[in-house]
């Protein structure tokens, strides 16, 4: 077991394989300047929103330093320090500017002093809160070393802390050195969350952030602010919604089995069923907060130009049948002769009627030209396949696939 100074903060690991899915490396956590006004943390029910209004003025004033102020919870906000540093020259200059701005914003409102203001700089909200407690600017990349000596109590779960301390894992650094694979079984979900914090993989503990703070601040001020409710994923923290969802999904997997609770993974492929795979949800793999904005942008979100054979174009079908469950259909011309795709990829007859799974005939209203399935696949499998969109008069639009004279439904445009 390693002691004290394990450096893990901001360290990116290689691709992580979870349940057969390779994830990209975890991005480094954003470097944040955190502003904490302890005097403004009181619940706003007590004073008709006055605390929230005062906090709003602080946030508003700070947005002159940086437009990306994130109101995390009453009395606590952060801003990414990288951008302002480029403008002000050094991080120290930004901290000084922010200190001055906050002081001015609070003084302007006169009367009762709001107590001290704490500032801290570190990677991730969790570390920045600890840094603010001692007024520290943690050097870039040193957040792991900074976190390591802190007692595990700071994870905010006394029960977990008790267990860890009994095992001699009394500091975040020692806890971080425990192999991730052992953590879930030994310390449960709360252990996994704390472990990810200790390793610098997550930036904030679920439950710390108060949802909708940006909107509440705007409401309290009664005027528009150049401020958006930041999505937690920008900041490397799990939102309360993700936390609640995670608990429900874990419970559901216990009830129905791991394989019953699935999340989508997009990948390249020939047909609609190949382009997206559903894989069992896992508490660590399915953490949306780990993705940076840049990664999201790169993710193949919209089915714009799928690399399907013959480039089956968008829009994508609303229902896609898995390979082994394809339903057979009969497609015939007006005389009842089965429609076949020729070797040159043409239809032998004009489709007139369609019967699904031996059911009643429905007249065909329109159909596409056949899309031949990728050539290489043909030759390797020594078979000829093609896709055809067919619209019947009842309004049902389907994607059929034909092979060796058999037609089956691959997808439906419900």
């Amino acid at each position: 077991m390693t002691t004290g100074g394990v450096t893990t903060g901001g360290v990116t690991t290689g691709g992580v394989t979870t349940g057969g899915v390779t994830r990209p490396p975890d991005p480094a956590l954003p470097r944040l300047l955190l502003v904490e006004c302890p005097g403004l943390e009181a619940p706003d029910e007590d004073d008709g929103g006055e605390h929230l209004r005062r906090f709003g003025r602080v946030v508003e004033a700070l947005s002159s330093v940086c437009p990306w102020v994130d109101a995390v919870r009453p009395g606590v906000c952060t801003l990414p320090i990288k951008g302002p540093t480029r403008y002000f020259g050094t991080e120290e200059a930004v901290v000084a500017q922010v200190a001055e701005t906050v002081a001015a914003a609070l003084d302007l409102n006169g009367g009762v002093p709001d107590g001290d203001v704490r500032l801290g700089v570190a990677e991730g909200v969790f570390a920045a809160v600890l840094a603010a407690g001692t007024g520290m600017v943690v050097p870039a990349g040193e957040t792991g070393r900074f976190l390591a000596p802190w007692p595990v109590d700071v994870l905010g779960d006394p029960e977990l802390a008790g267990v860890l301390v009994r095992l001699g894992l009394s500091t975040l650094g020692r806890f971080a050195a425990v192999p991730a694979a052992d953590v879930l079984a030994r310390f449960g979900a709360s252990g996994v969350r704390g472990h990810r914090i200790a390793r610098g993989l997550d930036g904030e503990l679920p439950g710390y952030r108060v949802a909708g703070m940006g909107a509440r601040v705007v409401a309290a001020l009664g005027r528009a602010l150049a401020l958006q409710d930041r999505q937690p994923e920008f900041w490397g923290g799990a939102s309360a919604a993700d936390e609640r969802a995670g608990e429900a999904l874990t419970a559901l997997q216990r009830r129905l089995g791991t394989e019953a609770v699935l999340v989508p993974v997009l990948e390249g492929g020939r047909g609609p069923a190949d382009r997206c795979r559903l894989v069992p949800w896992s508490p660590t793999a399915a953490a949306p907060e780990q993705k940076t904005k840049a990664q999201r942008r790169k993710a193949p979100k919209a089915p714009s130009e799928p690399p399907w054979p013959g480039r089956l174009p968008p829009p994508a079908p609303a229902q896609v049948t898995a390979g082994h469950r394809l339903i057979e259909v009969e497609l015939v011309d007006a005389a009842g002769v089965p429609v076949v795709v020729t070797a040159r990829g043409l239809l032998t007859e004009e489709p007139a009627r369609l019967s699904v799974g031996g059911g009643p005939w429905t007249p065909v209203a329109a159909w596409s030209a056949p899309w031949p399935v990728e050539e290489r696949w043909w030759s390797r499998a020594r078979r000829r396949a093609a896709r055809l969109q067919v619209l019947t008069t009842d309004g049902a639009a389907r994607l059929l696939v034909t092979e060796r004279g058999r037609w089956r439904i691959e997808a439906a445009y419900d």
């Binding site: 999505q231 429900a248 949800w281 919209a302 799928p306 829009p315 445009y413």
Partner: protein, 220 residues
């Protein structure tokens, strides 16, 4: 004051209907899940009221449900699907669902109620295609649970036994772009009618592209 969180569902349908009618709408208006603009025009509150059941029916009901779910999903809500084992995830992404917060539950037909109930506990939005023989009692239990947990259940398909505050029904649908042996399915123009209780007594009609040529939803 009667508040929806304090409302205990009665086993008597008539009492329940009455209770639903006296539930204050002004208070519930503050807890709406946001929807995409073309969908907002259909909803009496301009968003999905938490704690309610909304039915999507008619041709293209699965697509309509995805388009309705896209707004909350894009705004950060998790979306869970039950009974839609073969959902086209690419289509869902096209409508705007955030795939990072989408979970598809493959439950056996007999387990739909369990699956939906557990999801409702932790997820804002559950899209549910219950089996045709779903017991009305189980449906009412789920509706009460959704109300209690401030979740929204979107029921896909005609399920008369399912109590729904609002029904969004595709009345007419017409595909564009496909001809006899030429073209391709490009876009579908639909008329959706919203019928409901309370603030949605008067039916509202909206023409939509569901989907557009790029797989989105748009007002027609």
């Amino acid at each position: 004051m009667v508040c929806e969180h304090m409302f205990v569902p009665s086993s008597t349908p008539r009492l329940q209907r009455l209770a639903e009618r006296v539930r204050p709408t002004a208070a519930s208006r503050t807890c709406l899940l946001p929807v995409l603009p073309p969908i907002a025009a259909l909803l009496p509150d301009g968003g999905l009221r938490r704690g309610t059941v909304v039915r999507c029916a008619g041709e293209g009901a699965p697509s309509l449900a995805m388009a309705v779910a896209a707004g909350p999903s894009a705004a950060g809500s998790w979306c869970g699907m039950v009974g839609l084992d073969e959902v086209g995830v690419l289509a869902a992404a096209g409508y705007g669902l955030d795939l990072d917060r989408l979970v598809v539950v493959h439950a056996a037909p007999a387990e739909w109620a369990v699956a939906a109930a557990v999801l409702v506990d932790g997820i804002d939005l559950v899209v549910l295609a219950p089996p045709r023989y779903a017991r009305p009692a189980a449906a009412r239990t789920l509706a009460a649970r959704a109300r209690d947990r401030d979740a929204v259940v979107l029921v896909v398909g005609e399920r008369p036994g399912f109590p729904a505050e609002l029904e969004l029904a595709v009345e007419t649908a017409r595909w564009h772009g496909l001809a006899e042996g030429a073209g391709r399915l490009q876009s579908r123009r639909v008329t959706v009618v919203a019928r409901g209780r309370g603030s949605a007594v008067r039916p509202v009609r909206q023409e939509l592209w569901l989907p557009t040529a790029t797989g989105k939803v748009a007002a027609a």
